[in-house]
């Protein structure tokens, strides 16, 4: 029996001002509806154009559970296609590579130009007088209509309703700008490999946790707290290692997180770390500030490097860390299964030590071997199991709630507020129901 399909008001009723219903995390039907509505009506990151620098380069990716191909076409444009052959549905590509001037289906050798159009079918004469020219298949690979390349970051929207790119992201693009501007030439390249971490929990738990500033000093006491304690026993005068610089700020006080602030934008986007963040006090990388000053002028360089935004969430399921040049995607696989991909970038033209720090951060915090990751995953796992309890069907998101907050856009709140999480669910209800 269907609880939510076709029932817009039942879906909308799952999100209250300060509470959300547990079914958002445990109901398989809602997961399916998310794939059909939430991930269709929103703009989602599909890849970076440095992954497809040359004509014919492709990268196999996805939005929600829809397999896609991002390709650099012969005309130099980056296009996005559904990753299936129009003949019988075979997935055309795995991973990444160069396909040359055309894609060739490995099953029956139908081939397609890099703009998706059908190039050739073996024994084509056998389709004559069959009406093939009127088929769906003859149109070639199905292109994703709405694609936007923002300074190298390629986003796509699968559906036809929902806002345009600029309207969807609004001022939140300033976080991507800051990450990109940290390169003296204003360019990033995917580098350092991708860490892939399986989580037995709903994808939204991970997204919420990105701007949950009330958990680090509790959940990461075991990892970051131990790091601080072990470091204290080092002989006096020992230079503070990069790893300790990365771990220690996780143990910052409530006061630190309250004061850092959270900025919220429309559509569930927002970031922690308005005035400062856990990334503010890293050691300077020799030569880098000078390079930046030369490229941008002293004042502008200082403004770029003075932004230390902690985590920026691009709703629904992407997070970036500008000061670390890191992007995480929380890929929904099933209602209780999520794959976390943590990608890193090289600041083109900047010292290699920055990429080294980025890679270290990624493996210390985001790897399946990471003690910080172990701390978090344990909480998600317990949350997923706890939500099955029938004692209470609602999750509470009331911290620093104000009834008029919805009217304040592009607002800065106390850093420990759950406002941004409430905004996630407002956006969730909005994009879920707009096409029902």
């Amino acid at each position: 029996m269907s609880k939510y399909r076709g029932d817009k008001s039942a879906v909308a009723a799952l999100v209250r001002e300060t509470e959300v219903h547990r079914d958002l995390y445990i109901d398989p039907e809602l997961f399916e509806l998310e794939m059909r509505h939430l991930f269709v009506n929103t703009w989602n990151y599909v890849g970076h154009d440095s992954q497809v620098p040359h004509e014919g380069d492709y990268f196999s990716t996805a939005i929600g559970t829809q397999p896609l191909i991002m390709v650099r076409s012969d005309d130099g444009a980056v296009r996005v296609f559904y990753n299936r052959c129009p003949h019988k549905g075979t997935r055309l590509t795995e991973g990444s590579g160069n396909t040359g001037r055309f894609f060739r289906c490995p099953y029956h050798a139908w081939s397609f130009r890099t703009d998706g159009s059908l190039l050739a079918v073996p024994l084509r004469a056998e389709y004559e007088n069959t009406g093939f020219e009127n088929s769906v298949a003859v149109r070639g690979m199905t292109q994703v209509a709405h694609v936007h390349n923002y300074r190298g970051f390629v986003f796509a929207k699968l559906g036809t309703v929902g806002p345009g790119f600029e309207e969807f992201f609004g001022a939140s693009l300033s976080s991507l700008d800051n990450m990109i501007d940290r390169s003296p030439v204003g360019r990033l390249e995917v580098a350092g490999g991708v860490l892939r971490y399986r989580h037995d929990c709903n994808w939204k738990m991970l997204v919420e946790n990105q701007t949950d500033t009330m958990h680090p000093m509790i959940v990461h006491e075991s990892s970051a707290g131990t790091a601080v304690a072990v470091w204290k026993s080092a002989p006096a005068g020992t230079a503070k290692p990069m790893a300790v610089e990365i771990y220690a700020p996780f143990m910052s006080s409530y006061d630190f997180f309250q004061k850092m602030g959270i900025r919220v934008w429309q559509h569930g986007h927002g970031h922690t770390g308005v005035s400062h963040s856990i990334h503010s006090d890293y050691s300077a990388v020799p030569g880098y500030a000078e390079q930046m000053a030369q490229a941008y002028g002293a004042e502008r360089a200082q403004a770029i490097l003075g932004e230390n935004r902690h985590n920026t969430v691009y709703y629904p399921n992407v997070m970036i860390k500008g000061p670390i040049q890191l992007l995480r995607i929380f890929r929904p696989l099933a209602v209780d299964r999520t794959l976390v991909e943590s990608w890193t970038f090289r600041l083109v033209g900047a010292p290699d030590l920055l990429l080294e720090r980025t890679c270290m951060y990624n493996r210390l915090v985001n790897a399946p071997t990471s003690v910080v990751g172990h701390d978090d995953l344990e909480m998600y796992r317990r949350q997923q199991e706890g939500l099955a309890c029938d004692g209470n069907e609602w999750l509470n998101l009331q911290r620093l709630y104000a009834p008029d907050e919805i009217r304040r856009n592009d607002d800065v709140t106390t850093g420990t507020s759950e406002r941004l999480m409430r905004d996630h669910f407002r956006a969730w209800a909005h994009f879920m129901t707009m096409s029902m």
């Binding site: 490999g193 072990v230 771990y247």
Partner: protein
């Protein structure tokens, strides 16, 4: 110390795995030189541990943090605790350089990590760079190459 024999090197590697299986982590940590690294690459045939991510690339400080963390009363990912099991092929001495005091062994292994009702299986090749220090064999580099190094994993909480 006289140069360690092949048998001593091989026994050392087998003994190291046993310390892990018996959860004698402090003694295990003491097998590493001060400048040692434990490296678990992310890429097949990875050569650069610094500008490419790894699953682990840890010095003694980071290894010590892990060992201390495993004992913590608020380490909830270890409630219940994990256990591990190493099944090693006989370690093979690949390189002996007595002048440089460097010995390299190669050891295929199967590794199982369990926690509660869950058990995960891994297959890997372990390379040890060993040195003789004050009459003892010590590890300068332990490199663990998983056969599926680039796969998506769940938690790996102990040491392979």
């Amino acid at each position: 110390m006289a140069a360690p024999s092949d048998r001593e090197l091989s026994d050392f590697v087998l003994g190291e795995a046993r310390l892990l299986d018996e959860q004698r982590f402090e003694e295990w940590l003491d097998l590493f030189t001060d400048d040692a690294h434990y490296w678990m690459p992310l890429e097949w045939g990875q050569t650069d541990p610094r500008h490419t991510a790894s699953l682990m690339y840890e010095d003694r400080l980071l290894l010590k943090i892990r060992v201390e963390r495993l004992k913590g009363s608020r380490t909830y990912s270890q409630k219940p605790r994990s256990r591990c099991h190493h099944l090693l092929q006989v370690p093979r001495v690949e390189r002996r350089d007595e002048a440089a005091n460097l010995y390299e062994t190669w050891t295929p292994m199967h590794y199982v990590e369990s926690r509660g009702d869950r058990q995960d299986f891994y297959a890997a090749w372990t390379t040890h760079h060993l040195v003789a220090v004050d009459g003892r064999i010590k590890i300068r580099l332990k490199r663990v190459d998983l056969v599926n190094c680039d796969a998506a994993f769940g938690n790996i909480q102990l040491f392979m």
